[in-house]
């Protein structure tokens, strides 16, 4: 008796602890475990691209798509979005075999609603540029401007960066990836570091020779998609049209770079925008607050019904439901699950379903009591008899959730995941939590008052 009461107390304490974790991790700024809100709740843009890979052999598609993702990711990062998501998805199974347009690239840009420039940047072809140092006085001007800008930033002032700063310390030379004949991965004979060797065409070779001749002792920076990837110093004039980029990259990075340089453009045939979705921040915020509202009202009405109908067991079911909610929310944070409006709906639905197991058990318990069993026995038997129904019923819902997850688009997946997690946590909550609480208070006395507390219905 006392053992089960201690266990009940521990469960309650753990539940409160988990609830406190949910709360703390939400109110603390820069929390490690915030809720992950989907774009429809936080506002932002969701773009789906179809990648045409018809000229790429099957064995190389996965690699090309990986390279494509890296390229787009770099461009999106350049766009200054916080936590963008770029992922590859295969539509596969459901489209015809001839349709090679089955690889999808999904780009999510939280907080971005002006998608025009983002779309242009994503669709652009990559650029390889060689840039030379600006004249001394301009570099000095750049350094001064940079210093001023950093000082202003440290002081918390916001100033518009001057043009010198935007132009950067390097100037165009006219030599770009267009003049490249091929790129190759090599390794340094002595240091074994990976090197990307470049071979220019005739026109490019002449241009390269004249640029290196004019810039001996200076830096010739190599830019990819507008970001410097290597800043080597020119030692002498280079004729013959061959150059090497050695930087601090890993062999894998060097290999990707070579692949990209060779393909000249994106590592696939064509990137086509299939769908766009943008949600303004005001709409997203409203959806979120209404979702929370609906959740609170859902809890209130269900709790009211349970206590009114099932009395004391109903009260314990409400506590179990509270612990259930704390556990599920903590799982959402820890896994982490991206919450969309559909996901929130799935969670609210699972709250209603979580009660089902409790109801099954209580009804069974009541039958046992009617049959003349004492309270403890009725609780024990009620649980064991209801278990088969709970197991079979919930398994069928889990099967639906798994299939939904398997086939779904990201929207459907969010719902399936929240529903699936909800169902499993609800089985735990009914079978472990409610049962422990009921056994902890069930006393072997059959007085009318105790029977009233464990009875059900609005009357009697």
């Amino acid at each position: 008796m006392w053992k089960i009461r201690i266990i009940a107390f521990i469960i309650l304490a753990c539940g409160i602890g988990v609830g406190y974790f949910d709360y703390r991790s939400q109110v603390v700024p820069d929390s490690v475990f915030p809720f992950n809100l989907g774009l429809d709740l936080s506002g932002g843009a969701h773009l789906v691209y179809g990648a045409d890979v018809s000229s790429i052999s099957n064995s190389e598609i996965a690699e090309s798509m990986g390279a494509l993702r890296d390229v787009i990711e770099r461009r999106v990062n350049l766009f200054g979005v916080s936590e963008p998501i770029v992922q590859v998805e295969q539509a596969g199974v459901f489209s015809s075999a001839e349709d090679k347009n089955t690889y999808r690239l999904i780009v999510e840009l939280p907080g971005v609603t002006d998608i025009n420039s983002a779309i242009q940047m994503i669709g652009a072809t990559p650029t390889l540029e060689f840039k030379k140092e600006r004249p001394k006085e301009e570099i000095e001007a750049f350094k001064v401007a940079l210093e001023n800008f950093q000082k202003a930033q440290e002081a918390g002032e916001s100033i518009v960066p001057p043009q010198v700063l935007i132009d950067g310390p390097y100037d165009d030379t006219g030599l770009t990836g267009r003049f490249l004949e091929r790129a190759r991965l090599e390794f340094d004979q002595t240091t074994n570091e990976p090197i990307v060797s470049l071979k220019f065409n005739k026109e490019g070779s002449d241009l390269f020779a004249s640029i290196t001749k004019e810039n001996v002792g200076k830096i010739l920076a190599i830019y990819l998609d507008g970001t410097p990837i290597s800043e080597p110093v020119v030692r002498q004039e280079i004729t013959g049209g061959e150059a090497q980029i050695s930087g601090s990259f890993t062999p894998a990075e060097a290999k990707t770079l070579v692949g990209r340089l060779n393909s000249g453009a994106l590592p696939i045939d064509k990137l086509e925008l299939l769908s766009t979705q943008t949600v303004g921040p005001s709409l997203g915020g409203k959806a979120l607050s209404r979702g929370i509202m609906a959740g609170i009202w859902g809890i209130v009405v269900v709790a009211g019904f349970l206590i009114a109908w099932y009395r004391l067991p109903g009260f314990f079911a409400v506590i179990a439901l509270g612990i259930y909610i704390a556990i599920v929310l903590a799982l959402f944070k820890l896994i982490p699950v991206t919450l969309t409006a559909a996901g929130v709906a799935g969670f609210i639905l699972s709250m209603g379903m979580a009660v089902d197991a409790n109801i099954l058990i209580f009804e069974r318990m009541k039958e046992e009591m009617k049959a003349g069993n004492d309270l403890v026995r009725s609780v024990e038997d009620g649980f064991s008899r209801a278990w088969l129904s709970i197991r079979d019923g919930n398994l069928s819902s889990i099967i639906s959730a798994v299939i939904l997850f398997w086939f779904g688009t990201s929207l459907v997946k969010g719902f399936a995941l929240t529903l699936g997690i909800g169902i499993m946590a609800s089985m735990f909550s009914a079978i472990v939590i409610t049962r422990t609480f009921l056994l902890a208070v069930a006393v072997g006395n059959n007085s009318r008052f105790v029977r009233f507390l464990f009875g059900s219905g609005f009357l009697k």
């Binding site: 789906v48 179809g50 459901f94 489209s95 609603t113 025009n116 925008l273 299939l274 769908s275 766009t276 979705q277 943008t278 949600v279 303004g280 709409l283 959806a287 209404r290 979702g291 509202m293 609906a294 009202w297 859902g298 009405v301 269900v302 019904f305 109908w309 409006a341 559909a342 929130v344 709906a345 609210i348 639905l349 709250m351 209603g352 379903m353 009660v355 089902d356 109801i359 099954l360 009804e363 008899r385 088969l388 129904s389 079979d392 019923g393 919930n394 398994l395 069928s396 819902s397 099967i399 639906s400 959730a401 299939i403 939904l404 086939f407 779904g408 688009t409 929207l411 459907v412 719902f415």
Partner: protein, 296 residues
């Protein structure tokens, strides 16, 4: 008792269900389903004019001047419009929003924009069908497996097939109601339909489980009476469970985000008809299955 009443007058309940299903099919075929843009392709643009909106007529004019096929614009509660068009390219969206601001005479704010190309729409549609078919197959197999020990007087496959008849009933009726109301059939609708499949089976399984238990305990020799008693024993549970789920769904409908309002409605309808079917359709159908078994 209430439950024997269900068994005795089962033909009346079959007729009621049959009528509902027929009416639903009629609505689906004659009125047709109004597919959302995620299934047929197209764009939805919602804009808001913080400083008051222009009249609908010039807005429609702007859209047709841009040679964009569109439905008449629909005013929103928050001084804006919802504009449904064919799938727009990014450049067309920019041109449209410029046009809608009437040279900045009416500054506007984009509330949401959603565009789905036709290929993606067709793909999602076939995905939805495959998902529904797979769930139904999985459920028949699952029930046949769970009830594998039961062969008398109804085979375990009988239970599976009856459960599937009930769940088709539960999904078709809300679909018909949506067709009649002209509400959109979109991804969320399909999610709701699939969730109904799971919930409906859950409900039916609980009744079947009780029948199985009562069969094992041989509480009566007459299958009809066993079914009737099982129904009585699970009746309150069925109603109360549905009631709690419907309560949270109503909370979602009235207080939840607009985007999931129709979703809550489909699920509520599915729950109500699902509860009806597990009491008034599935269990009495088992008696029909038993009679067929005897004839053979």
């Amino acid at each position: 008792m209430t439950s024997m009443f269900v068994i005795t007058y089962r033909k009346i309940f079959f007729a009621i269900s049959g009528l509902f299903v027929l009416a639903a099919f009629a609505a689906i075929f004659f009125i047709g389903l109004n597919f959302g843009i995620d299934f047929k392709g197209g764009s939805i643009l919602e804009v808001r004019y913080p400083g008051g909106r222009p009249d609908a007529a010039p807005v429609n004019q702007v859209i047709s001047d841009l040679l964009i096929e569109a439905l008449p614009v629909q005013p929103t509660e928050e001084s804006g419009f919802i504009i449904r068009t064919r799938a727009l390219e990014e450049s067309e969206r920019v041109a449209l929003e410029n046009g809608l601001s009437f040279d900045s005479a009416y500054p506007l704010e984009e509330v949401r924009f959603n565009s789905v190309g036709p290929t993606l729409g067709a793909e999602l549609r076939s995905k939805a069908w495959v998902a529904i078919a797979t769930v139904i197959m999985a459920i028949i197999l699952f029930i046949a497996y769970v009830f594998r020990g039961v062969s008398e007087p109804v085979s375990s496959w009988g239970y599976g097939i009856v459960a599937v008849i009930a769940l088709i009933h539960d999904v078709v009726i809300p679909t018909g109601i949506f067709a009649a109301l002209g509400y959109e059939i979109d991804s969320l609708f399909v999610i709701a339909a699939l969730a109904i499949l799971g919930l409906s089976v859950n409900d039916t399984i609980v009744v079947f489980d009780r029948i199985r238990e009562n069969l094992k305990n041989k509480i009566d020799r007459d299958f009809k009476i066993i079914v009737g008693k099982s129904l009585r024993q699970t009746f309150i549970r069925s109603i109360n469970t549905s009631l709690t789920v419907v309560l949270v769904l109503l909370a979602l409908y009235f207080f939840g985000p607009e985007s999931t309002q129709h979703f809550a409605l489909v699920l509520t309808l599915g729950m109500v008809f699902g509860t009806y079917s597990s009491i008034f359709l599935a269990s009495p159908l088992l008696i029909v299955a038993e009679k067929w078994g005897k004839k053979k």
